[in-house]
């Protein structure tokens, strides 16, 4: 009951409820005294009542400052991360299927920033460097029709909402070299008040490889970059800073912008500056996705009306974008 009250926030009204409850309990305990005890007059009942309530208020001021001590100890050993907050429901019906076997190894990672603005990575209560996090071969072996496979983990990232997204890009660029193609950013949905997952697929792009090629030998020729696929299409540069209004992403503006400009012959280049936080980025991306999903739904309805079953809505309104850190 108390957890429920905390969650739905009606602490303010319940004071009255508890005062009524305690006065009823007090009267219950003195009713027989009043009947069988000779000196227990109404005056003394009233005095007893005020004494009891004074004691209650005195006791409730006791030990208040020290109350959270145990919880602070827990919070230091396993810090709480303020994940981004969204009001959209994230759909995932067009997720590509990577493997027929669905048992991925899910790693829960916390990303925090310390006082000097460096990133800290925590994996199951252990603090790690980014090198340890990415290079350690966490993987899971499984059988599929008599063959043995080994799959890469999925990183489920709890990142602080005020982190600069440009810094998190380092993790993505290392993960793609490692073979991880799917990242889950945890967001808190305000619709059903639950932690939710924003799935991001990372493809090998030249921008991601650029940082690593300095220290490593050049990538083999067979690698397929996402830019090669986009060569025949028109580039449209979108600067994320233009959509920010009062330190928040103007979601309606993003929605209408993409309603007008999404098509199969255009790909977007998202320019991400250092001021863009994770909250801004996810707000932008979710409203972009929502806009495209709505276009697809409309097209589906039209196709159904015109008996057109060959044209796929995913081909007409695709998600084609490249991210670039300035």
């Amino acid at each position: 009951m108390q957890f429920m009250m905390l969650k739905y926030g009606f602490l303010g009204e319940s004071w009255v409820l508890y005062i009524l409850l305690f006065s009823v309990l007090f009267l219950e305990s003195v009713k027989e005294l009043r009947r069988s005890f000779k000196g227990y007059t109404l005056k003394i009942v009233f005095f007893h009542f005020t004494l009891v309530f004074a004691l209650i208020f005195m006791c409730s001021f006791l030990k208040k400052s020290n109350y959270n001590r145990l919880n602070e100890v827990y919070n230091n050993s396993d810090p709480y991360v303020n994940v981004p907050v969204t009001s959209y429901q994230i759909q995932s019906y067009d997720d590509p299927i990577i493997s027929p076997y669905n048992g991925y190894l899910k790693l829960f990672v916390k990303v925090l920033s310390d006082s000097s603005n460096n990133l800290k990575y925590r994996l199951y209560d252990n603090e790690l460097t980014i090198h340890d996090l990415v290079e350690t071969p966490y993987s899971e072996e499984y059988n599929y029709y008599g063959r043995k496979y080994r799959n890469n983990p999925i990183l489920t990232i709890h990142a602080d909402r005020m982190l600069s997204y440009a810094k998190l890009k380092e993790l993505e660029s290392k993960a793609i070299i490692r073979g991880i193609s799917k990242l889950n950013y945890v967001v808190h949905s305000t619709i059903n008040d639950q932690p939710y997952v924003y799935t991001k697929y990372i493809y090998p792009t030249k921008a991601l490889y650029a940082n690593i090629e300095k220290s490593k030998p050049p990538s083999p020729l067979g690698i397929f970059f996402f830019e090669d696929y986009l060569k025949s299409k028109k580039e449209q540069i979108v600067n994320l800073e233009t959509f920010i209004l009062n330190e928040k992403v103007d979601e309606q503006k993003v929605y209408t912008y993409f309603q007008e400009s999404v098509s199969d012959s255009v790909f977007f280049k998202f320019k991400i500056s250092k001021e863009i936080t994770l909250q801004h980025y996810l707000d932008f991306m979710i409203s972009y996705k929502q806009s495209v999903y709505d276009l697809r739904d409309e097209q589906k309805r039209m196709n159904h009306a015109l008996n057109e079953y060959i044209l796929k809505v995913e081909d007409k309104y695709p998600f084609l974008f490249i991210e670039e850190v300035e």
Binding site: E28, F37, F61, K64, N71, N75, Y80
Partner: protein, 125 residues
């Protein structure tokens, strides 16, 4: 509709002063002990429950802390009051005539304690 008693009611002169002082001390002591017991038990229980969650927020808001302190203090004071009254009334009875009156008061106290604590624990957990 009052209950009919054959015997005269209890009065303060039937009990010794020493008994009154001991019962007040007992009430205060059991109040404090039960209050701290509830606070520690609550914070332990809460941390144990939250340790099953990933990324749980352990810190409570000030509003919630003061409300819980109030609720626990109320429980503790009601229980302490009841314990004090029970101790004051009970004991070796010198007069057999007034026993039924004592028994009624004690019955009430034990009914209150058992049922209220049962209800509270059932609602809280």
């Amino acid at each position: 509709m009052g209950r009919f008693y054959m015997h005269k009611p209890l009065s303060i002169y039937d009990f010794s002063k020493r008994r009154a002082i001991i019962s007040i001390l007992l009430a205060l002591g059991s109040t404090l002990i039960f209050y701290f017991f509830q606070q520690y038990f609550f914070s332990l229980y809460r941390s144990a429950m939250l340790s099953f969650q990933f990324n749980a927020n352990y810190l409570l808001s000030d509003d919630a802390i003061s409300l819980f302190a109030f609720v626990f203090a109320g429980n503790a004071v009601i229980v302490g009051n009841s314990v004090g009254i029970s101790f004051y009334i009970s004991g070796v009875s010198k007069s057999v005539r007034q026993r039924s009156r004592r028994r009624n008061i004690l019955n009430n106290q034990s009914f209150l304690l058992g049922n209220y604590l049962y209800l509270f624990i059932k609602l809280a957990l």
